[in-house]
Amino acid sequence: MTHPDFLWRDPDPKPSYDVVIVGGGGHGLATAYYLAANHGLTNVAVLEKGWLAGGNMARNTTIIRSNYLWDESAAIYEHSLKLWEGLSEELDYDLMFSQRGVLNLAHSLGDVREGRRRVNANRLNGVDAEWLDADEVRKFCPIVNVSSSARHPVLGATLQRRGGIAKHDHVAWALARKADAYGIDLIQGCEVTGFDIEGGRVRAVRTSRGRIAAGKVALASAGHTSVLAERAGIPLPLQSHPLQALVSELLEPVLDCVVMSNAVHVYVSQAHKGELVMGAGIDAYNSYGQRGAFHVIEAQMAAALELFPIFSRVRVLRTWAGIVDVSPDASPIIGRTPVEGLYVNAGWGTGGFKATPGSGWVYAHTIAHDEPHPLAVPFALERFTTGALIDEHGAAAVAH
């Protein structure tokens, strides 16, 4: 048997590039793809310290939706969702993007009010959103326990029918293949260790494979962004935390939508192969250890079983963690930095997979024009000084 064709080359770094992207996860790869596709920039390298898309891109639970509360978030996440809707065709690769609907359950009067408010806000922003009462939830997802005596009674839910899941590896491979075809160098096993900054402008990156000169440097390093930015002398309002998820053994199809519950900190979907994919909230402490504590998984399973008694005999196959970069307002930080030619795209925390195409789109524009894309303007680092926060803790509280 021969090895299947490789989807991208494995080049050595050139001495210099117009743009160097630090981090070969989903956002770095999408940024590279759109730099070429939308802006004609192809003298570009993506530097990845490990292997392509082995960070959070490989570890997330792939929930995609755009039903965020505030106008700024709705705009950027909805832009991303629209891109998802055409992305398999555009990249000529089946991303297994499945718009099966995302339910966000309400368990208390506060949840109900927040959910209804969000539905109204979403509709005003052209984002599809519906409010379901408990009986409608039961009809939409019959295996959810809507009994009023449940530990976490279901009082209703928001539903975004256009939300769903995709296959994360396919997304990474499809973006990598296209970027490579444009001549972009995807360089694995290349850790950025520092920056050459002269006269307030970045000139080069220092890496485990030598110095690489760069016209512009774009961070797309998720959980490690603070470590890198610090080496450029830029303190960022980010904290790195483990975020855990797990899969069950393979089951017959039993759940055909995504169910999330902020209040009890659990969310569940069933992947195409048949495993249940479940996630929880972050581990409380700062960590770069790519592992979390088991009591977090236990609490998450307790909540899941309250919602889905039918899963009581399902066995966990494996659990894992990624390191997510959490910002104070649960919104990303996108744009220029105090160092000229150095850009940041971080703080997507627990919910950046859904933003992969949208983030790459606006970041590529921001880099190419040295001017934030209109959708990225509100997400600039300056908002922590001006106070114009985009507080999405309500929409993003649980990890997804």
């Binding site: 603070s226 470590v227 700062n286 960590s287 770069y288 504590a293 104070p328 000084t385």
Partner: protein
């Protein structure tokens, strides 16, 4: 799960505690004189090192005292808390 050695109660499981983030963040001495950027630093920016980190833990289900713990953010090793 971490085992945190509370100076008052002895070694206890992590889930008896609440996390409080970076230690040693004092309220500004002259708040009226702070620039907006200095306020941003005080309110929003915290160290996020890959390595040793001084952090606060609150023994919520124990003595209800705040401790400062030195913990490594990769190995999760803890040095004797104070």
């Amino acid at each position: 799960m971490l085992l945190i050695d509370c100076p008052h109660c002895g070694p206890r499981d992590e889930n008896e505690f609440r996390y409080g983030g970076q230690a040693g963040i004092a309220y500004p001495e002259r708040p009226a004189e702070l620039t907006d950027d200095e306020w941003a630093g005080y309110v929003f920016r915290r160290d996020n090192p890959k390595g040793w980190f001084h952090e606060r833990w609150f023994h919520a289900h124990g003595c209800r005292v705040w401790l400062t713990v030195e913990r490594h953010t990769v190995t999760h090793e803890i040095r004797k808390p104070r």
